[in-house]
């Protein structure tokens, strides 16, 4: 299964008892995140490390190992769409997927992958609402703020339109 992980998942993986870390280290998941997420995690490394209370070595070992499980989606493969275009896609998705509370995502920044490209719909709110995006190689699968256990309980076949 291929998933796009949000920054909150990566950061919460540094917590003592972290379900996110368990998920990120599952070898049968292919995880992805946009290039800028890696850039900003690197840029904020000192601050993040300060919150964790870990030493330089411990932080680098932990974060390095976690990020080694996350594939970088280079910016060349990212297409940015303005938030106003989101409704157009929401219409399509709404018909394809019967996702509870899907409309609550309107105008929130959200991203999804189609084929090899990551599409980012950027709205006024900088806090992305989604946590994971399930993707496939050829079709949009789903983009909703699912909780981890729910997502893991759903197979790709079950999500197919």
């Amino acid at each position: 299964m291929r998933l796009v992980v949000d920054t909150s998942i990566i950061i919460s993986s540094l917590m003592k008892d972290s379900e996110s870390r368990r998920l990120m280290l599952l070898p049968d998941l292919d995880l992805f995140t946009p290039e800028y997420v890696h850039v900003e995690i690197e840029r904020h490394a000192g601050k993040i490390m300060g919150y964790t209370g870990l030493s330089d070595n411990e932080y680098n070992l932990l974060m390095g190992n976690l990020l080694s499980h996350v594939n970088v989606i280079h910016f060349d493969h990212v297409e940015i769409l303005p938030g106003s275009g989101f409704l157009e896609y929401l219409h399509v998705w709404d018909q394809s997927w019967s996702i509870p509370n899907f409309r609550e995502l309107s105008y929130r920044p959200i991203c999804y992958i189609q084929g090899l490209s990551l599409y980012l719909v950027v709205g006024p709110d900088p806090i992305f609402s989604m946590r994971f995006i399930l993707i496939s190689s050829s079709t949009i699968r789903i983009t909703v703020p699912l909780d981890i256990p729910i997502l893991l309980d759903i197979s790709e076949e079950e999500l197919s339109p």
Partner: protein, 76 residues
């Protein structure tokens, strides 16, 4: 010692059969050790972490603002 049974894809099995000189159970055992040790090491490090849910939210917001500003630059 305990025994484990593994399921592998057919195409992998075809490759493996070409190299009967390899003790594949040893390869699997080493891979299991490597991954298990890594998980243990990361768990041990994380045990020392004092990061809280509130901290995660704060860092998340800050990172998201920074990432978001990169994307906005591309739109504007």
């Amino acid at each position: 010692m305990v025994s484990m049974t593994l399921s592998i894809p057919e195409d992998l099995h075809i490759l493996i059969k070409k190299h009967s000189e390899i003790k594949w159970s040893e390869i699997a055992r080493r891979a299991l050790w490597d991954y298990a040790r890594k998980l243990q090491l990361l768990d041990d490090i994380a045990l020392k972490s004092v990061l809280t849910e509130e901290d995660v939210n704060e860092i998340h917001k800050e990172l998201k603002k920074a990432v978001h500003s990169h994307y906005r630059e591309h739109i504007e």
